[in-house]
């Protein structure tokens, strides 16, 4: 058995050990590099398992040889502290490096190097072995706008821009108007949004052609559903949060019942309920558009979660605020609207951002009740007879899309959390 102490460096012979060790590490990584990029394996004369483990063993030996605490060489010290403080860590580090080398090249190869994006038909893709991004390019508009007529896409774009503009009005409210911020976001803004969506996207008046909701789809539908979901479940959630904190028993227990009910059932059953049961609950001659039913169900569902988030904020507010407001002679509603809620909502902005994020991630579910947002469009595109076999590209595209949106939102919510933490 080799005496492992031979491999331990000391301050005197460190230079030699450093050279030999670095060389060994390099050989190990280079070996994996060759195998992965060029499929060269010059160690075939070794028995199977030894062949496979060779780079790992060499790398471990090399790392052991350069592991000297406080060697004086800055780079080596940094490496030793971070990834080489014991054999276990060294091994894990090597494995991660090797896995990266083994996985990335084939993936890059397929996704970029051998992929195509030119052309308009399947023929352009059949020739290559790589990913077929032409498929995405051709279907892109569908993924974004669903079956909405191409000529009218400007209507959707305009509607969104206008909505975002109205959302920022809150930042510019000064002076006396600031008191009405809650009122604006809770009541006025939802109404404005509804009007805009109704007239611009749905159409039917003012010379704009009517487009039925079944044709709405893609990412724009995702946004519409998430957006309406959030702005309407917001006031409802506020009422429920206040109700749960109320001292009046009936109101309190009805609120608790509502919240616990909607938080205890999966969203899919709620959606089923909305498409199958809602018609039963309404007079038979009243027809409610499927999209509106689905959004209503989502609003009722998410309101329960928003209520819990807001309740957290209400609880975190120091009692002194309540006392001060009461001592000034404010009634219950005045106190809530002008003193308590504005502060509580500020506290829970990150929580609400998280809920919104969860809502966006939940919207793909509406595809099971027949509304084709992005994932629904993916399924539709995948089974189109002209484009069979490109499911993987579709899912990768959708994953990257959602990931980018959700990552951006979660980073923004973290930024908000930090900002409001330091402000207090």
């Amino acid at each position: 058995m080799i005496n492992i102490n031979i491999l331990k460096p000391t301050s005197s012979n460190f230079q030699t050990y450093l050279y030999i060790g670095s060389a060994l590490i390099f050989i190990g990584i280079f070996d994996v590099f060759l195998r992965s990029f060029f499929n060269i394996n010059y160690l075939t004369f070794l028995p199977g398992s030894l062949n496979f483990l060779f780079p790992l063993i060499i790398g471990l030996v090399g790392l052991q040889m350069i592991r000297l605490e406080y060697s004086g060489n800055r780079i080596v010290d940094k490496i030793n502290q971070n990834i080489n403080n014991n054999t276990f860590n060294a091994g894990l580090t090597l494995i991660i490096i090797f896995l990266t080398l083994l996985v990335i090249p084939p993936a890059l190869d397929w996704m970029i190097l051998e992929a195509t994006i030119s052309g308009d038909t399947k023929e352009a893709c059949v020739a290559t072995e790589g990913a077929c991004w032409t498929y995405i390019k051709v279907w892109f508009r569908r993924f974004m706008y669903g079956m909405y007529p191409n000529d009218f896409h400007w209507r959707i774009n305009t509607a969104f821009i206008v909505l975002i503009a109205f959302a920022f009005v809150g930042y510019f409210m000064r002076g006396k108007l600031k008191n009405y911020i809650t009122f604006y976001y809770a009541i006025l803004y939802p109404i404005i949004a509804f009007i805009i969506i109704n007239f611009l996207i749905s159409g039917g008046s003012f010379g704009l052609e009517w487009v039925e909701t079944n044709a709405w789809g893609g990412l724009s539908l995702t946004f519409i559903v998430s957006f309406f979901g959030l702005i309407f479940c917001f006031p409802l959630g506020m009422i429920l949060a206040l109700g749960r904190r109320s001292e009046l028993p009936i109101i309190k227990y009805i609120s608790i019942g509502y919240i616990e009910f909607w938080r205890g059932v999966p969203l899919i059953t709620v959606l089923f309920m909305s498409s199958v049961m809602f018609p039963m609950f309404l007079p038979s001659d009243a027809f409610v558009d499927k999209l509106i039913r689905v959004i209503a169900a989502i609003i009722l569902f998410e309101a329960a979660y928003v209520a819990e988030v807001i309740r957290g904020g209400l609880q975190a507010l120091p009692r002194g605020q309540y006392d001060a407001a009461k001592s000034l002679g404010m009634g219950y509603w005045k106190m809530q609207i002008f003193v308590i809620l504005p502060q509580a909502l500020k506290l829970v902005i990150p929580g609400i951002a998280n809920t919104f994020l969860a809502l966006v991630k939940d919207t793909p579910l509406i595809f099971v009740v027949g509304l084709s947002e992005v994932v629904g469009m993916l399924q539709m595109a995948k089974t189109n007879p002209k484009w069979l076999g490109y499911a993987m590209e579709g899912y990768i595209f959708a994953s990257i899309l959602f990931w980018a949106i959700c990552y951006a939102m979660s980073k923004y919510s973290q930024y908000l959390e930090l900002k409001y933490k330091t402000e207090r």
Binding site: I251, R263, L365, W403
Partner: protein
Amino acid sequence: MNHKIKSIIPQLLTLLFVVAVIGFFTINAQLNMEERGIDFGYGFLNQESSFDVQFSLIEYDGSHSYAKAYLVGLLNTILVSVLGIIFCTIIGVIIGIARLSPNYLIRNTAAWYVEFFRNVPLLLQIFFWYYAALRALPLPENTEPLFGVTYLTVKGYYIPRLIWENFDILIYSILAAIISIVFIRNYARKLQEEKGQQLPVLLISVGLLLVFPAITFVTGMVQLEVALPVLKQLSKTSFIYAEGLSIPPELLALVLALSLYTATFVAECVRAGIQGISKGQKEAAASVGLTPNQILKLVIMPQALRIIIPPTTNQYLNLTKNSSLAAAIAYPDLVLVFAGTALMQTGRAIEIVSITMLTYLTLSLSISVLMNWYNKKIAIKEK
């Protein structure tokens, strides 16, 4: 007097509002049902279901009742949830600890794992595994065995089936082991209290759990046969592996997606728990001479678990609710079997959807109640 009226009026109004809404729905429902000739009742549960289910843990076919179908769906949901919970816990704990590693590479790899799998919608992840990744697996006839006796194919994961003789005796032996472990632990505790000596309780427990069942094997009371999967030709081009146990790709995709997704949240809970323990605790424990293992067991874990367990249980609940997404890939869970197929066949929307929602509600509420009881019991007392 005035105050009493002030508090009664809002409550009355709210109550009236709720009653009015419920009443409105009920009346409409009754009218609609009369119009369409549908009656209301749960008697249909005893009728023959006349549909088969692809995957079931118990004996079931079309001649069994709808109630049995409900049970099949429920068991499948529980199966997926339990498997998902086990795997997401293992992965979550590893990633959570890795997030705090001093090793730069490990720490960042774990961080990217969390950021990636958390921000892609679960449904998309399920679809990816089911329609893209698992579809790329080879056909049964072209598969190389994994670990020698299992076959990961596009038609499912085929593993050996265990056939037990006298399985109940094995259960008794395990029970006996557990009972004796309880006795040993009590004895060890008394011994420590009185004489200060410590017994290696963990080692002894593990030993007992292994030895007792082993005895049943060695003496021949319990016998185990292993049925290996064998390639069988169904038709000219269609092969499967028979004799063994086949795990359908739907179940695989679902468990994979659920575990990887929920593990990100569990990892964050674990990380919060470990970080929530101030460094001073470790130092204080070290300064009185406790070994690192003792510090972990007596000081760190008790505090960390109090922080970790409540939100993690919440995640388990979310996983169970998310398992309902099985409907999207035709895994026969409760929602697909009952609120999907059964509902389509009988048209009894209100009864079926209400039963389904009630089932999930019961599950959620009982776990909530359990969690609240547990929290109160172990709460660290403060002023």
